[in-house]
């Protein structure tokens, strides 16, 4: 709830003054509006449409839309993505009519290769393709490259020791410098791809000439203009999965990714006394980052009991030595604070009137049903139950996908000319993403495959498979819910409504359920609730979202 005092990252941000509901408040130029509001002592700044419930940051990386706010008259702006400018007028109640945001100058371009996403996979794909002599356009929705893993502080923070915010900063800085310095790579930040489709040259007379259009097989519609490309490398990454529990929509419940983004990218503490819970090794860097930021942690709770799983897979840890080292480092940080990961435990409820005041921590049985509980006083919690890939662009381009995008040994999807790399094809961390990105970039450029990258991918892919097996999300979480627990946060649809609708109307289809209950029809379009509804009902999750990111009607009309 406060900025990190005497910040070891040595930040010297330009001060900015914003108004919040007419009151002048201090902020930092370049930080996110969400960070400014949280640092100003707010956990929530919006009320839900039907239930009047308070909402603030939840996912922290643009997937959930909980943090919507009005900025300079433009309604429904994601506070976690919007950067503060001096003089911004923030209001927590929306005007009747939204102001249209200033238009971003847009130019239509045709390129041989476009890479979407500047995380580890996208950065390496761009470098590999450019290294093979191809011209590359690298699109990224963030102001700075790096993605979630190599998240960079805002440039305007002028950090003297950014490595204190991100342990892998040296590697990240080198990588981004190579991108910036490469004459064949154009890196376009602040660019969101809101739709993708196969090129249909006949439909747009006056566009590129037919011969050229025939080669430019794919069209990406972005917030900075239309991009036609022969080859597309999708590296759109993933966001945290959160399973619901009573109170999980209270302000002060953050995804692990949100907590990390606030600390690592904004230098703001999401709480002063916190719990970290969920499953998977990602909880470790999040806990470690919170500790380094001066947050008091009351526990780090791993719902699974992974020791047995690792023991049954001797050699797997040795196949990914960097992972082992990382984990040891994080565990050491925890130990220095008198903490160790509590296995077989989870946050199964949080309590509070307008924000988190306490949490119920449960000791779980192996199937995740509750064995016993205790109450812990905290003012925030961070939860992470693995990751959900951002599949919409891949699906829009026609790529075959199940839970992840299907790719071959060259990272080629089922659609000619479309490659996928990174978390989109399976959750395996930055090293695997980088290797996949390099393979995809080389293949897209038609270059000779890199055997070393292929070997790295092989080893880390085995590691990723082991991770998925050792840290599954087990069905017992469903027993944590009570009837009123919201499953769909956007449209405020309860567990009871979903269960009763399926039974009463004999619903056997995902779309039918969605349209009967509105679960998944709201701002986040099922990004947060989709997997959970699927688990609760046994109906498949649907990731078909032809509008991949909200776009103003005026921009769509002029696109």
């Amino acid at each position: 709830m406060t900025r990190i005092p005497e910040d070891p990252a040595g930040v010297f941000p330009d001060p900015a003054t914003i108004t919040v509901d007419g009151q002048s408040r201090p902020a930092r130029a370049g930080e996110s509006v969400a960070a400014a509001l949280i640092a100003d002592g707010r956990a929530a700044w919006r009320e839900t449409r039907t239930g009047g419930k308070p909402r603030g940051v939840f996912c922290g990386i643009g997937a959930c839309f909980d943090c919507l706010v009005t900025v300079n008259g433009e309604t429904d702006v994601r506070a976690c993505l919007r950067q503060v400018c001096d003089g911004d007028e923030i209001t927590t109640t929306a005007p009747e009519v939204s102001a249209r945001p200033p238009r971003v100058p847009a130019a239509d371009v045709s390129v041989p290769i476009v890479v979407v996403g500047a995380g580890p996979a996208g950065l390496h794909a761009a470098l590999a393709a450019a290294g093979a002599g191809a011209r590359v356009l690298l699109l990224d929705s963030n102001p700075r490259g790096g993605g979630q893993y190599h998240r960079q502080l805002p440039e305007s923070f002028r950090a003297s020791r950014p490595e204190k915010a991100h342990p892998g900063q040296a590697e990240a800085a080198a990588l981004l410098a190579r991108i910036a310095g490469h004459e064949l790579i154009e890196h376009r930040p602040n660019t969101t791809v809101w739709a993708a489709e196969a090129a249909e040259p006949a439909l747009r007379p006056g566009g590129s000439n037919p011969a050229e259009a025939g080669e430019a097989g794919h069209v990406l519609h972005t917030t900075t203009g239309t991009v036609r490309a022969e080859r597309v490398v999708l590296a759109t990454g993933a966001y945290d999965r959160a399973v619901p529990f009573p109170g999980w929509d209270l302000p002060g419940v953050y995804t692990a990714g949100a907590a990390q983004a606030l600390v690592k990218g904004q230098r703001v503490r999401p709480g002063s006394r916190m719990l970290v819970g969920g499953t998977g090794p990602f909880l470790l860097p999040v806990a470690s980052g919170l500790l380094a930021a001066g947050v008091k942690l009351e526990g780090v709770l791993e719902a699974n009991r992974p020791a047995g799983g690792w023991l049954r897979r001797p050699g797997i840890l040795a196949s990914a030595p960097s992972k082992l080292l990382e984990a040891a480092k994080y565990n050491l940080t925890l130990a220095r604070h008198g903490l160790r990961v509590a296995n077989g435990q989870a946050i199964v409820a949080v309590h509070g009137s307008r924000r988190v005041e306490a949490a119920t921590v449960a000791r779980l049985r192996p199937d995740w049903t509750i064995e016993s509980t205790r109450t812990v006083e905290v003012d925030a919690v961070a939860i992470g139950y693995g990751f959900t890939p951002q599949l919409e662009l891949a699906i829009a381009l026609g790529c075959s996908a199940g839970a992840f995008v299907d790719v071959d040994s060259q990272q080629l999807t089922s659609v000619p000319g479309v490659y996928a790399a990174g978390e989109l094809t399976g959750i395996g961390g930055a090293v695997l993403s980088a290797a996949e990105g390099r393979i995809a970039g080389l293949a897209a450029a038609g270059a000779v495959p890199d055997q070393r990258a292929a070997r790295t991918r092989g080893r880390y892919a085995r590691f990723a498979t082991a991770l998925a097996e050792i840290y599954p999300v087990r069905d017992g979480w469903q027993s944590w819910l009570d009837e009123t627990t919201l499953v769909c946060r956007c449209e405020e649809v309860s567990y009871q409504t979903i269960r009763d609708t399926v039974t009463e109307h004999a619903v056997t289809g995902t779309k039918t359920l969605k349209l009967c209950t509105r679960a998944g029809l709201g701002w986040c379009q099922g990004r947060v609730c989709g997997r959970n509804v699927a688990d609760l009902t046994g109906l498949p999750a649907a990731d078909h979202r032809p509008v991949a990111s909200p776009i103003c009607l005026g921009d769509l009309a002029g696109a």
Binding site: D76, A99, A195, E197, A506, T508, Q525, C552, L553, A559
Partner: protein
């Protein structure tokens, strides 16, 4: 399995027909290859319109249907008598619109000419660049998937059976419908498979001239009540009546009880091509902004498409196949199926059980195709 009637298609038309038959004491099995309301019904806005139908057989069906929708009340289906507003953007269009309201009034439809100040009062955010407007208070809306679910649940409570996930593999008119896992023996078979009705009819050896007519809809995020009625450009009437296969677009904008604004409408005959094309979305956005310029800052959350069941003469096909006794059709409603469903179900039920139809069945008879 045995039942008196087997209905193929668990969309709004199949649901309404099942409900009417079940109410009449007939045993019914509804069969669908997917889930209930998983096809055309889920792609519709739920229009119950009289304003877009010139006096004639379809208007009679629509008025009968509207009355039935109000009486049905099968639970919460978001039935909203929001009223329709037609906007003419040129003096010629305004003249044609005034003629339409006059003929509607003669036919007993409440169609009112609106002055520009009355229009501004009803729709404050509408463009002032308007040559004429009309108001149809009877125009209404339901949430089509909720309505279908409610009707099917009501039918099941009256003894009907619902078989979902069961693709039909064979039809013997007057005898049975086969699926991969079961055979439903039924003396009467109804094909209510929307735009897929032609393909289904082939299984019975019949040639039914139903084609898909593609449509797309844009949906905004939840906003305050900015659009109060179903507002549409009077050119919509020409687009509906057109036989052109190419992309036709006319602006249709409406608010919904849940908050989002729905923006239509496109029509094109491109087969069952389910892709969402940005070019079509762009045209929809331009049309909506033409009517409501102040929506420029409103955010579009999603877009969806559907296939309307298109009959070459734009009239629904309701009745028995003249050459195949025991085989019935209820399709071809194009974009009006939600609105026309209850009257369609009631008409079929009356024809099948020897009851008295409340509208003239002749114009809808499949016999017109020879």
């Amino acid at each position: 399995m045995h039942s008196d009637v087997a209905i193929i298609g668990a969309g709004i038309i199949g649901a309404a027909t099942a409900y009417e038959l079940a109410r009449a004491g007939v045993s019914v099995t509804v069969i669908d290859r997917g889930a209930l309301a998983g096809g055309t019904t889920s792609g519709g806005e739920g229009n119950l319109l009289v304003s877009d139908k010139p006096p004639g057989a379809e208007l009679d069906l629509a008025r009968d249907s509207l009355r039935r929708w109000r009486e049905l009340d099968p639970g919460d289906i978001e039935l909203e008598p929001k009223g329709g507003i037609l906007v003419a953007r040129s003096p010629e269009a305004a003249k044609a619109l005034a003629e339409l309201t006059a003929t509607h009034r003669e036919a007993g439809v409440d169609g009112r000419d609106l002055s520009l100040s009355e229009l501004a009062e009803r729709e404050p955010h509408l463009t002032r660049d308007v040559a004429g407007a009309a108001y149809y208070p009877e125009d209404s809306q339901v949430q089509p998937v909720l309505a279908t679910a409610a009707l099917l649940t009501a039918a099941r409570r009256l003894g009907a059976t619902l078989l979902t996930g069961a693709a039909v593999t064979g039809i013997e008119p007057g005898r049975a419908v086969r699926t991969a896992s079961t055979t439903v023996h039924a003396g009467q078979i109804v094909i209510a498979a929307g735009p897929w009705s032609g393909e289904v009819a082939k299984l019975a050896g019949a040639d039914l001239p139903i084609q898909p007519r593609r449509g797309m809809v844009l949906v905004t995020g939840a906003v305050p009540k900015l659009v109060h009625h179903k507002v549409y450009d009077a050119s919509y009437l020409a687009a509906v009546a057109s036989d052109d296969a190419g992309l036709q677009a006319s602006a249709v904008v409406e608010g919904t009880p849940a908050g989002p604004i729905l923006i239509g409408s496109t029509r094109e005959r491109i087969g069952f091509d389910a892709r969402i094309r940005v070019e079509a979305l762009r045209v929809l956005a331009q049309g909506a902004l033409g009517l409501f310029p102040s929506l420029a800052g409103v955010k579009i959350l999603r877009a969806y498409g559907g296939f309307r069941p298109y009959a070459p003469d734009h009239l629904p096909v309701i009745g028995e196949d003249p050459h195949r006794p025991g085989l019935w059709y209820a399709t071809g409603h194009e974009g009006a199926g939600i609105g026309l469903a209850p009257a369609t179900g009631a008409l079929l039920a009356a024809l099948m059980t020897g009851g008295v139809p409340s509208v003239d069945p002749v114009p809808f008879s499949p016999a017109r195709f020879g």
